[in-house]
Symmetry: D2
Subunit: 352 residues, 4 copies
Amino acid sequence: MKGYAMIKLGEAGWVNKIMPKCGPRDCICRPLALAPCTSDVHVVWENAIGELPGRILGHEALGIVDEVGSEVKLFKPGDRVIVGAITPNWDNEAAQRGFSSQTGGIMGAYEFTAKKDGTFAEYFHVNQADNNMAMLPDGMDPVAGVMITDMMTTGFMGAENAGIQLGADVAVIGIGPVGLCAIGGAKMRGASRIFAVGSRPTPVKVAKMYGATDIIDYHNGDTAQQIIDATDGAGVDAVVVAGGGPDILMDAIKMAKAGSKISNCNFFSGADTLPLPRLDWGSGMANKDIITGLCPGGRVRLERLAKLITYGRFDPMPMATHVFHGLDHIEEALLMMKKKAGDVIKPVVICE
Amino acid sequence: MKGYAMIKLGEAGWVNKIMPKCGPRDCICRPLALAPCTSDVHVVWENAIGELPGRILGHEALGIVDEVGSEVKLFKPGDRVIVGAITPNWDNEAAQRGFSSQTGGIMGAYEFTAKKDGTFAEYFHVNQADNNMAMLPDGMDPVAGVMITDMMTTGFMGAENAGIQLGADVAVIGIGPVGLCAIGGAKMRGASRIFAVGSRPTPVKVAKMYGATDIIDYHNGDTAQQIIDATDGAGVDAVVVAGGGPDILMDAIKMAKAGSKISNCNFFSGADTLPLPRLDWGSGMANKDIITGLCPGGRVRLERLAKLITYGRFDPMPMATHVFHGLDHIEEALLMMKKKAGDVIKPVVICE
Amino acid sequence: MKGYAMIKLGEAGWVNKIMPKCGPRDCICRPLALAPCTSDVHVVWENAIGELPGRILGHEALGIVDEVGSEVKLFKPGDRVIVGAITPNWDNEAAQRGFSSQTGGIMGAYEFTAKKDGTFAEYFHVNQADNNMAMLPDGMDPVAGVMITDMMTTGFMGAENAGIQLGADVAVIGIGPVGLCAIGGAKMRGASRIFAVGSRPTPVKVAKMYGATDIIDYHNGDTAQQIIDATDGAGVDAVVVAGGGPDILMDAIKMAKAGSKISNCNFFSGADTLPLPRLDWGSGMANKDIITGLCPGGRVRLERLAKLITYGRFDPMPMATHVFHGLDHIEEALLMMKKKAGDVIKPVVICE
Amino acid sequence: MKGYAMIKLGEAGWVNKIMPKCGPRDCICRPLALAPCTSDVHVVWENAIGELPGRILGHEALGIVDEVGSEVKLFKPGDRVIVGAITPNWDNEAAQRGFSSQTGGIMGAYEFTAKKDGTFAEYFHVNQADNNMAMLPDGMDPVAGVMITDMMTTGFMGAENAGIQLGADVAVIGIGPVGLCAIGGAKMRGASRIFAVGSRPTPVKVAKMYGATDIIDYHNGDTAQQIIDATDGAGVDAVVVAGGGPDILMDAIKMAKAGSKISNCNFFSGADTLPLPRLDWGSGMANKDIITGLCPGGRVRLERLAKLITYGRFDPMPMATHVFHGLDHIEEALLMMKKKAGDVIKPVVICE
């Protein structure tokens, strides 16, 4: 079968691979919709997970079930499904501890591309299908559905982990698709004022649509200070970090109140250590907690997020700035994600 | 001064009282806006807190500060303020334990009417003013502002205590103003599907406006069974009880999933004991937790809820079905609350 | 194979059954240690789960692995294992929601006896063995180990769910083995004063050993009032209900502070409804939350509890008042549990 | 009056000051017992809070009430009291937000020495006495009592914030008095295995007494790696940081499982930024949360911790390695704390 893969670090391209095998609890899907992720860009061009020649890229996908293992109970060939970008091994001890994204070690549930071929292929493999897929609701646009698999679940997690109280002031750093979902998530958790830190015009427009009340642009000076000034020196009750370089926690902690949460859903790269600001962090005693996580998966999560779309609580469509038709366009979509021109939020490829 | 009081159980009327005295941390306010509450009806006509002849009624109020004690730092005469219906004694041990509504015993922070004269008067007393009042934001309609003091904080608490996860299914029993706020609160915590149990047409209209997706009418049969059927036998992830008689927990527990929360913001009356259904409650082992609370007060809470209005997250105006002008109309408003005709949700009296 | 079963409601005895079958993720065990539970008594003599003629009793067991399914990775024949009394289906949606004891409906993870033959047999079946069993640590006395499977995990859950803060006052109602473990659990969560409600001399002795500071005997009057008096009218911060009839929540709520948790690990029987006291519960507004649960299972849980024994944090041996040798003694042990004479806490049967 | 003060950065000595004034909610105490803290050392010799010439040192004290303000209800002259090292302004918004140690900004409730004269004096001032003091229980040794004010509440907080589950593996970095209390706290929250990182013989002895099961000595190599090896590569469920330089979070995060909490109660100094290890932190996605806090105060907290001593749950006496009699000995005690010879844990000065 054909797949779009890392050829070597710094180079991606089409490869031919043998078909994946279906274990008793697994399934094999054909892609219904795919989306490239900034993580795919990190993998190929920023050495996020090492040299993996021939490894197929992609982890955001809706699928059409092609084959199911003997133990699969909930799905059958032909079903149209939402596939979690993160597919935990629910038998692992970390899942019982409540950390299903960490099954098998740090970020261990990140299987696509990191541990096996990803979703940018004619066929892809899903482990523990009953646990890691959900039915795509009838009538849901696949362009919307594919946003559930990573962008919504990750960005919403950013907001959920921030411990937002009703009426709280929240800052979201970064307005890529994850940041935009964090803004929507902050609104859905009951934030009142939402500061969005970013400047590209198309994302800014969507940020406002999703609930941002104040846009903070770094061109206007230190972003943390702008937020502190706008809140009369108080800072915010919660910060979601959804973008930024290795120093971004310096800003995040500065703009947060004593007694707050800094919730990270940013994949850090570019440095071996990440600095915290000692004084703004109260020398370790300011009750500014730093919460982290990785894209929550699982059937229940996927079903719930789908219902947010079904019942009109959140509309991911405005993020799909570019829609392609045909698996062959995945390269174009990925390069678009790499380049991230001003009007790009998220390209989607519909394969059917 | 003049006030509207319980004359005796079953009878309310105007009385003359001496002016309240202002302690060092307290303040005296004139009313800017008042609203009668179902609790006022319970007090006079249902013996909720006993025989209190001459005790002035009312606990929902915006005030104009008339006098401040020597230790008050944040307010001065002339300030227009939001006064919490519940005014905790923040020095009490229960406040440090995190239960500020229970300072001084069960529901001990319910001071207006229960422990001293209430707000339906030319002047009223607020204990620990710096802790229990917030500035009314410039430009906020007093009709909206007075909803913060009890309806919003109580109804939202109902939703907050229900542990709603993003995308969860929620049922709200009762669509009086507290139930309506619970619906709005459930939406603001990220519920997807929201079942509202009620039938009066005007509240039903507002329930939908606030986020209800399904209206469950008892005229169509057992309400719990209707919800179970509508969820294909699953039941809901959370129930907010915001109305109903002494048996209402029977329904609430029945309609809840194994693994859920039943959050009560209903004032129970009419029986000495309240039954739970043994089997639907899994003989005490179904992980159906019952969470309770009383109208959270405090300056920070009031400020945060005011910001939900300011930033357009919640609009209480549709609940104000009837607006009167002049303190003298408080009787008419109270009787309207007692009678609760089909189009009444909440009458408000603007006193200025 | 031979097993000890319900013959009909009100009668138990030995039966012959065909051997259980081992699915791909399951295993078959021979019993290493067994213990009868009050629940077994409820099943046979109090109609807890209906008429199940020929259904083998028992759910507390250590096992010796006899056969493993093709997908089992962590165990092999000959392993000595701790088997959870509750064996969730971890693929079920309730597990992903965080309620693994409720997989497949109310108390759905209670499989032994309720859904299939129990452990009082020459062989028994364990579903999802990798998820529901743990290795018995080398050198651990089987008499201690079998206490982990239900008594420790259930009683400790009672304490964990009670939200005990360091230094809190706690009451535990009931001093059967679950209540005793709740006392030990309350101590391990940091309670200071612990009231144990009970009177039988042997359990009273163990209650003190496990951390009870005050013994409350109903022979001396209303137990709730005794606790209120002993705390100068304050009541306790948390109550664990580990015994009592259908009215016991009346007492539990009365003895709890406004702002507290009542945590139930009692299996209620004997009435269709369970009354709550309206006034002591603040008419539903006293912040006296009622938390419930069912015996938490899972490999991680079992491993952690085993480590509490290994590292000397808790010693279950004093609860094993009677130890038998040989499967044949299970009847004698069960009848002892039924009769519960003054010196009986828990009989254990070692089968090897 | 006489007090022991910072003369200038790098120098401490006796000064004469005017008596503190008692506001309406405050009280003035004479010292009953005092203890120097590492923070006092930081203040004088490490520029922790700047140049404060003449500012009296000390924040750990039991007091004898000398004068009470007109609004004080719970105390009277002659009462023997426990005084919180941290004395929040409970009227401040941060207290209502649940962060009482941060009232008035970062570490704002740290008033002694930082904002006014401290406790090493013939008289000292306590703000909001009803909220910030507790009665010393009859018969409690003042040597034990003074440990409550900072060491116990801070170290226990470290354990409480670590989210320890029953049976969890915990590491405590640092075995000064705060670290020792964190060890005791970890045991009181139900940890099974407790790794204590430290090497001085006297503290090591107390660490074992308080529950440490494994002593990790940096002389034997990388401490994180030692713990990882001892847990077969798993790492621990929770880490309490109670000592270490600016790089200590590098170790703490390395030794923690994916899915864990790192709880800090260490006062960082010596660098402007504090590094986190990107890869061990899963590039920000390992669910290794970093929780912080500052010495919780308040009457309820002090009372509860006193009860842990009263009911024999924790004995602080072994930490009091040196006891002096007479206020004059405070200098000797402070210098002992500065020097920290091998057998010093905590010197105490009894003033009565």
